[in-house]
Structures are given as C-alpha cells and as structure tokens.
Symmetry: C2
Subunit: 140 residues, 2 copies
C-alpha cells in the first residue's frame, strides 16, 4: 500500500450504503476535515470537540491513540504529546451520513482534556433564556 | 431591538474573555454556522451532531426548543416539525473557545432523533484496528 493509498478511505456507493452499510466511508468536508466529539469512556461526558484530517484519523485507527488536526496551528496533533494528556481510544462511532465521529477515550496524565486545565472544554453553561451570560459548571 | 440586532451575538474582547469570561460570545464559522452536539438529558448519550446559524441559536434560546440549520436543505429547521421528535432543551454549554455547543435535550414523540428511526445517529461502531468495517450497535 502506498502512502497515498493508506490515506484514502472508500466512498459509499449509495445513500443506503452510507446510512445502512458496514463499510466505514467517512466524509471529509471541503477542508478535508471531519468533526470528532470526544467523550469520556467511563462517564460518557463530552470532553472536547475537535477535527481530524485523513492522516489524523488513520493514525488514530492505527495506534489507538487520539490524533487531531489543529485548525488554529495548521498541524497534525497527537493529543498529549506536550501535556501528557494522551487519549487512549476505546471506541469510535460514526453517524448516519458519516460526516461526524464520536470517540470514547481514557485520558492519561492529569486526566484533563482542556488546555485551560479542566477535564472538559464544556465548563460553562449558557444562562437561558437571556442567552447572554455564561455560568461556570463545577462538573466541567 | 431591531431584527438584525436580535441576531447579533457579542464578540469577546480578548482570549481571556473568550475562555474565562461570563458573556456568551459564540463564534460562527465562515458559513455562519456553529457545531452543536446534542445529547440526551437523561442518559448523556450523544444523539446527533448538527449545525446552527445565529437565527437557529436565537430561536433555540428564545423558545427552549431545538432549532438547527440544515446544510443539505439550506433551511432553518425546527426539529420535530414533521416527525414529532421535538427536542426540549434543558441545558446548553459552550467550550473554551466558544466555537462548539453541547445541548442537552428531552425528546418528544417516539423518542428518536435520527431520521433512520433510531434514538441516536451514532448507531455504528468502527471496527478497529482495520478501521474498514462498521458494526451496528444495538444501543444506538
């Protein structure tokens, strides 16, 4: 397999194949990215939302450790390389039209996934109905 | 408030405000959309990943019922209008850089959120390490 072939994921032949098939045919957007919702394998809590390109997804599948594409830095990113917060993948799911992933992980190091030093990036709740203010969640 | 003002969300004055502030300053992408991870308020399971424009987010905040922007149809979409699967919002969270939302909902009607007739859109698991095949999850 050439390096290029390695990064090619198949395309679904039909809507039925896409939605009810058993071949993984992830759909990347015009930037070559797919959105990934990373959840805690133990609690199910949403830890972060990030993006993968084909290389990040392939490396994640091959190594069992979460890799992402950093849109802000424009680089491939093995989560935990500098922070120690390595995410070991226990399961990856895809949705009906295969343009989103849910990835369940066990977090190493201090157990955090957010660069602000929290377990989850979702540590603030929108104060509805005004929708103007945020309140900090102690469970974040 | 003019209709235009109603749809304007404030912008964070700094990175510190964005990440540690208490004003909701959602960041929409170049298409005017923000990604929303919708979870079951009872179980925490991820039900779907969808997108909102400012109007959908404003209507969701004002009515307490989930509205989205359908990228495939190019229309505003009040979830459940045709299916009866209305999603009543119990909480909305935003992430560190406020470009993603997690929304917890209670689903009416038959309790499903996926158009394929399942509770969740994430009903297939990637069969790692090959990463080529999908397996159906009964809990989907």
């Amino acid at each position: 397999m050439t390096p290029k072939e390695r990064l090619q994921f198949p395309t679904a032949a039909s809507k039925a194949e896409l939605e009810e098939g058993t071949i993984f045919t992830p759909r990347f957007d015009r930037d070559g990215l797919i959105v990934c919702v990373t959840t805690d394998a133990h609690t199910g809590a949403v830890l972060m939302v990030a993006y993968m390109n084909a290389e990040a997804l392939r490396l994640t599948l091959e190594t069992g450790v979460a890799h992402y594409w950093s849109r802000s830095r424009g680089t491939l990113w093995r989560k935990g390389d500098t922070s120690g917060q390595v995410q070991t993948v226990t399961e990856i799911r895809t949705d009906c039209d295969q343009d989103a992933l849910v990835m369940m992980v066990v977090v190493a190091g201090d157990g955090n996934s957010c660069h602000t030093g929290r377990r989850s990036c979702f540590y603030r709740r929108v104060d509805t109905p005004s929708g103007r203010e945020l309140a900090f969640e102690p469970t974040g």
